[in-house]
């Protein structure tokens, strides 16, 4: 009942929805950088949304299934193989015990998600399995995963069938790096003069390589605070844009600390933070300032829209045509083994050799 890691990309971690209720003790939430994509991966594997999955930056890794299982990869385009067969991203696939899953590089995103039926069942730490790398919490020993690690898997709640979204997709929301990132001003926008607020809204910024699960530093015009860059520390949330004395804005991400002492000019709306997390390094970022009311309306609608997609998954026709799968879809009786017709793999080896 395990998943063995044969090789791992640079930042492969166990994540879930993160820790809740401990912020007053300084314990940050952690959890997926792109939660909607992780939710999609879990739903494709018939997991509850609270299940823990794997998050990877740029490159996945190779994994050996310790039991029959179902997995799905989401977040962006990515080459996936089961042994030597190429299978598509954005839908779930069955794997037999002993088979090897190979997950390559993301083509158009930074963070990818791998859900496994039954979920990753490392022990909970302070109420969550999410890995917080800086504080060494959760996951496996609070660290990124590496070759040789063996992850315990939970029991499958039901026999999963292979699924995909009704409209095929690798994620619930397009990254759309050309569209603006929407912000609500505050909590310390009054530390900045109107011309600096205008810069924030009108000037292009750029995603620098100084980025991790804790924060993303942007390049652009310096945002000088007329009232100074030290505040009496107060509470912060992921999405907050803090500006230290360098004038460079840093957007706090999933692993963000709970409080901080720099003024925060604005907050990225919940719906746009996963998009921003996925912007390639070097991307130009434009901000659009909206009201809190509008931001809340967007969040309410976005949540509904995501739930609609997750509740309308359909059987994935491109999946392995095993008799078990076809039986689970009520497509055939026990007349013939489909392997006898199709071979075990309908994606012919000649295709995967390209």
């Amino acid at each position: 009942m395990t998943l063995e890691i044969l090789s791992a990309g640079p930042v492969l971690t166990v994540q879930d929805h993160g820790r809740r209720g401990l912020k007053h003790l300084g314990v940050p939430a952690a959890g997926a950088m792109d939660r909607p994509s992780m939710d999609l991966a879990n739903a494709l594997c018939s997991n509850p949304p609270t299940a823990a999955a794997l998050e990877f930056a740029a490159v996945g890794g190779q994994f050996r299934a310790g039991r029959d299982l179902c997995f799905a990869v989401t977040g962006g385009d990515c080459e996936i193989r089961i042994d030597d067969r190429v299978v598509p991203v954005g839908q779930s696939h069955k794997v037999e015990a002993g088979e090897i899953i190979k997950i390559g590089a993301l083509g158009n995103a930074i963070w990818g998600y791998i859900a496994i039926s039954g979920g990753i069942e490392v022990p909970e730490v302070l109420g969550s399995r999410a890995t917080h790398l800086r504080f060494g919490l959760g996951g496996l020993e609070g660290r990124a995963l590496r070759a040789g690690d063996v992850l315990p898997l939970g029991a499958e709640k039901e026999k999963p069938i292979c699924l995909r979204p009704r409209t095929p997709a690798t994620r619930l929301t397009p990254i759309a790096a050309d569209r603006p990132i929407r912000l609500v001003l505050g909590p310390q926008d009054d530390y900045f003069a109107p011309d600096v607020i205008a810069l924030l809204e009108n000037a292009p910024f750029r995603v620098t390589s100084q980025r991790d699960r804790m924060g993303t530093v942007l390049d652009g015009p310096a945002l000088a605070a007329v009232r100074g860059h030290d505040i009496v520390s107060d509470g912060i949330v992921p999405g907050a844009i803090q500006v230290a004395a360098s004038g460079q804005p840093m957007i706090l991400m999933a692993d963000a600390q709970t409080t901080g002492g720099y003024p925060k000019i604005a907050t990225v709306i919940t719906a746009d933070l996963p998009r921003l997390a996925q912007f390639p390094t070097g991307s130009e970022v434009h901000f659009e300032i909206i009201s809190r009311d509008d931001a809340e309306n967007i969040q309410i609608k976005d949540k509904e829209r995501q739930e609609e997609i997750l509740n309308a998954l359909v059987p994935a026709t491109g999946a392995l045509l095993t008799s078990e799968f076809l039986l689970s879809c009520n497509l055939v009786g026990d007349v013939a083994h489909p392997e006898a017709v199709m071979g075990r793999d309908h994606e012919a080896p000649s295709k995967s050799r390209k």
Binding site: H24, L25, R134, G136, G235, T259
Partner: protein, 252 residues
């Protein structure tokens, strides 16, 4: 409790400010400065929300002078929540002060207290005088934040107030005792920080495996007691071996 820290007549002086943090959080700000009266109101509101929860409120984070409130906008809208919180605030009593007192051993200077000499020079005093000043004050734990178990300390003598570095350093070890602006701190975990550091304590203030993972709580009082590096190492070894666990002074 000092008489001068008794809250004055509530309600007239200042109604709190509501600050916006996007679509799922807001901040109730009771003052601009580090102030025990504002801090008590913060803790009182947090307690009030624990005792009588508001639907849609997810979490609160008490800080020096404001309370962060996270909420689910599908259950309660920010504008409505501000109204509900305003009503609560008008009926708030001052939080009862059930503080614990701690005497925290500190090894001043050395590798971890890397800023001691430069800071003393900046303040035109000797390192010994800085240590004397730093360890003579009584500090109040105003809040736990930034990192698990990280205690923010009010009561730093004004002569030691020092701005943070413009760019944070990448790795400061757990136990480091620092100064940031008008605040004192004890690092609970290793991590990046823009604060200036004068020493380290062998105490562990955060241990996720413990039933009580965080040592200090908002409202606690503490003093720093200078110890030699040798003594510091002995205390650290005893704690590591499970022979010693830090305790507050006799119940107040």
């Amino acid at each position: 409790m000092n008489a001068c820290e008794q809250p004055t007549v509530d309600g007239t002086a200042s109604s709190p400010l509501f600050l916006t943090l996007g679509d799922s959080a807001l901040c109730v700000q009771f003052g601009e400065m580090i102030d025990p009266v504002a801090n008590r109101r913060v803790i009182a509101l947090a307690q009030n929300l624990l005792d009588r929860p508001i639907d849609g409120v997810l979490e609160t984070v008490p800080t020096y002078r404001s309370l962060l409130v996270t909420y689910d906008p599908t259950q309660v809208r920010g504008a409505l929540l501000e109204g509900l919180l305003s009503e609560r605030i008008t009926t708030l009593g001052a939080q009862e002060d059930v503080s614990r007192h701690w005497r925290v051993p500190v090894v001043y200077g050395g590798k971890v207290g890397m800023d001691l000499e430069a800071l003393a020079a900046e303040k035109e005093m000797t390192p010994d005088a800085l240590v004397e000043l730093h360890s003579s004050a009584e500090y109040r734990v105003y809040m736990i934040g930034f990192a698990p178990g990280f205690a923010y300390l009010g009561g730093l003598p004004e002569a030691l107030h020092t701005p943070r570095l413009p760019k944070p350093r990448h790795l400061i070890p757990a136990g480091a005792v620092g100064i940031g602006g008008q605040q004192g701190s004890i690092n609970s975990v290793a991590g990046p920080s823009g604060w200036r550091y004068v020493g380290w304590t062998p105490w562990r203030t955060f241990d996720p495996a413990s039933a009580n993972p965080v040592l200090f709580a908002a409202g606690d009082r503490l003093r720093f007691v200078p110890v030699s590096a040798e003594r510091g190492n002995e205390i650290a070894a005893a704690i590591g071996a499970g022979e010693l666990s830090p305790q507050p002074e006799g119940a107040q």
